[in-house]
Symmetry: C2
Subunit: 201 residues, 2 copies
């Protein structure tokens, strides 16, 4: 069995959302599994001195235009969120909690639902109540979520995940590592596919 | 006649170099001309608070890897320059000088030769002597270049070009504007082509 694809993303990242719509089919075409890793770009940006795209002078307006245009180009549903960027600690911790309790497949379902809530339905995914609602809709124990994501062990677990990502030199979202080869950005999925097909680019 | 494509680039930008290899054929497929505009990313970065990719922590090593991999993926000759980034005022001024003296077509020939010198032949294009050599090889008056690019009018002209680009919200390289639609990055050439073909993305 070929090694899994490590997929790093922040729940507030539009390009991460786009990648999330395509990564499983792409991986399946080449007999790979995907390991989903929620990270916190805010922490990563502190290390790199970067800022979220829309907050950079000149780039800001273009960034929003590019999100919408790229979504259309790739046939992905997208509506500009009212609040952007969004704090994603709660969503990331919730995903780790679900993964621990119900396994990776349910955690990915939750991640997809969170992305859709934020980038299609305009829901404030920074609110634990909204995340609890998503969990309940998926058949899980939503009522337990607000307390679960404030658990010290879950907080520590997310911190460790983000640190592990940065040790692997992950600096953006989406970020893919497969067979040691790093790909940053949804716009590298063409090269990622070539790599999975040919074993090299 | 459809409006021309405005192509903004910095001579030190690998993705600008990649774009330069493809932009004329892309434009020709859709009955467009290309207007080439050398800019200075150093000036633009001051306004946006950005830094050249390879100088950003974590991103640096990836950036060099991506330059080489993207070149291979797109079938473009590329050798990592020993000095990067490179001061490009001299090359940009020289291009404007040639455009004024011999017209845009000769200036584009010069631009292509400068990109090749830097990204394939490893030549220090910050040196006026190297630029003079390129002009001479193209049949121009290379001997006149070192003085010409120190002319106050040429310096002023480049400054005005960079300011005009920033007024159009150009913030990177390559940057394309066509029919008012902006595209940043060689990795948006797929969307640029769709736009030229369909009039929309």
């Amino acid at each position: 069995m070929a090694a899994a694809i490590d997929f790093y993303f922040d729940f507030s990242s539009p390009y991460g959302y786009f990648a999330a719509q395509k990564i499983e089919a792409l991986a399946a075409r080449h007999g790979r599994e995907v390991h989903w890793h929620p990270i916190l770009l805010g922490v990563v940006f502190k290390a790199t001195g970067m800022a979220p795209l829309p907050l950079v002078p000149l780039k800001g307006e273009y960034a929003f235009h590019d999100f919408e245009r790229s979504a259309r180009f790739h046939g992905i549903e997208y509506r500009r969120p009212a609040v952007f960027p969004m704090a994603t600690q709660a969503a990331a911790r919730a995903m780790l909690w679900i993964a621990g309790r119900h396994g990776a497949a349910r955690a990915v379902e939750f991640a997809q639902a969170v992305y859709r809530a934020y980038f299609v339905e305009g829901i404030d995914i920074g609110e634990p109540a909204a995340l609890a609602h998503i969990v309940t809709a998926l058949g899980g124990d939503g009522a337990a979520l607000p307390e679960a994501i404030n658990d010290a062990a879950i907080k520590e677990r997310l911190k460790a995940e983000v640190e592990a990502a940065m040790e692997r030199k992950v600096f953006g979202s989406p970020f893919i590592i497969v067979d040691g080869e790093p790909f940053w950005g949804f716009d590298r999925f063409d090269q990622l596919e070539a790599f999975l097909r040919d074993g090299r680019v």
